[in-house]
Symmetry: C2
Subunit: 175 residues, 2 copies
DNA sequence: TATTGTTATACTCTATAACTATA
DNA sequence: TATAGTTATAGAGTATAACAATA
């Protein structure tokens, strides 16, 4: 697939066949998985994946409350995107939003009972789908290996500066 | 995150902590990677990821030609989506489309020289990005393990019937 | 001035259904 | 009748920039 370029000096070394295969597998597996998961969430709970993640994070949070900024972190690449998705959840009564007493600029998002119900409704199918597609094909040793490598890669990605490293600006990934 | 539900009889067994961690890592890694890749392709060649894949497949194909149906397979979940993206590439002169002589219903897509140029332009940055984000964090043993597991998972996913298995219809994923 | 969040807007992409044409 | 592909259309999601309010 033309991943080796350059002639003599190899300015940018290509990817090995093994790397290429792993990369392609990763892309195919993840896009397939994501498609299936989104399909299930939409069918069972009329939730987008972002909405699901918002609710899931809230359910896990103490008192079921988080600030918009906390929710945005890692979930979304623009603040307005989060506002949009939160607006939909709010409209459906699955979350509420209210100004924070501590910092009047902040908005505290809370899951409602209805929100918890939807997550509870959706979760069995979600888990079942992930198991069926992902884990049914894995031995125990596979699971351990996959978790290990991907955990390291995830940490690395979180640490690596973005490609177009903004000269001076904290670049929180979400602005 | 509420992945264990049911009380006594465990109707749907949850995911183990290890499975959950691997699943989350996979989703985070892949979404981050995909975002970065799309960003690079857009910046360097004004290509969407689907467009990139179309061109890449064509460049790899004998004579740089494939039928629309061949391109659709695995790439896209609706035929019209492919027509749309191919239309954009056509408009830019990166591909051409012409009726197949063998089967007048089919359309043969061919990469143009300009199309090959764009791929050549974009590829170094693409490869560099994948290496930087994905492989720089991996030991050789990691690579082997990852490739192995994901290859098996990919094969499994290709074989597993879709969730809402259509009672009778070949369900080629793309219609 | 920097941060938090919303809004308006424009744009990209996707999917469904209806349709044409060929096998 | 089934297959290959396009088109029309509608909807979902995203990002940028301008904005208001608070720190």
């Amino acid at each position: 697939m033309l991943t080796r370029i350059g002639t003599v000096s190899e300015p940018t070394p290509g990817l090995s066949g093994e790397q290429l295969g792993a990369y392609f597998s990763l892309m195919e597996v993840s896009s397939f998985l994501q498609y299936a998961v989104e399909d299930q969430l939409r069918a069972d709970g009329d939730l987008s994946y972002v909405q699901f993640q918002i609710l899931a994070r809230l359910v896990d949070a103490p008192d079921g409350r988080l600030r918009m900024t906390d929710l945005a972190d890692g979930l979304v690449y623009s603040r307005s995107g989060l506002t949009y998705q939160a607006g939909l959840l709010d409209k459906r009564g699955l979350i509420t939003r209210s100004p924070s007493p501590d910092d009047e600029r902040s908005v505290i998002v809370s899951v409602t009972g209805a929100g918890r119900d939807v997550i509870a409704l959706v979760m069995p199918g979600h888990v079942a789908g992930v198991r069926r597609l992902l884990f049914d094909a894995m031995a125990d040793s596979d699971l351990a290996a996959l978790g290990g490598v991907l955990g390291r890669v995830r940490d690395h990605m979180r640490a690596v500066p973005p490609r177009s490293a903004k000269p001076r600006a904290k670049r929180t990934r979400g602005n």
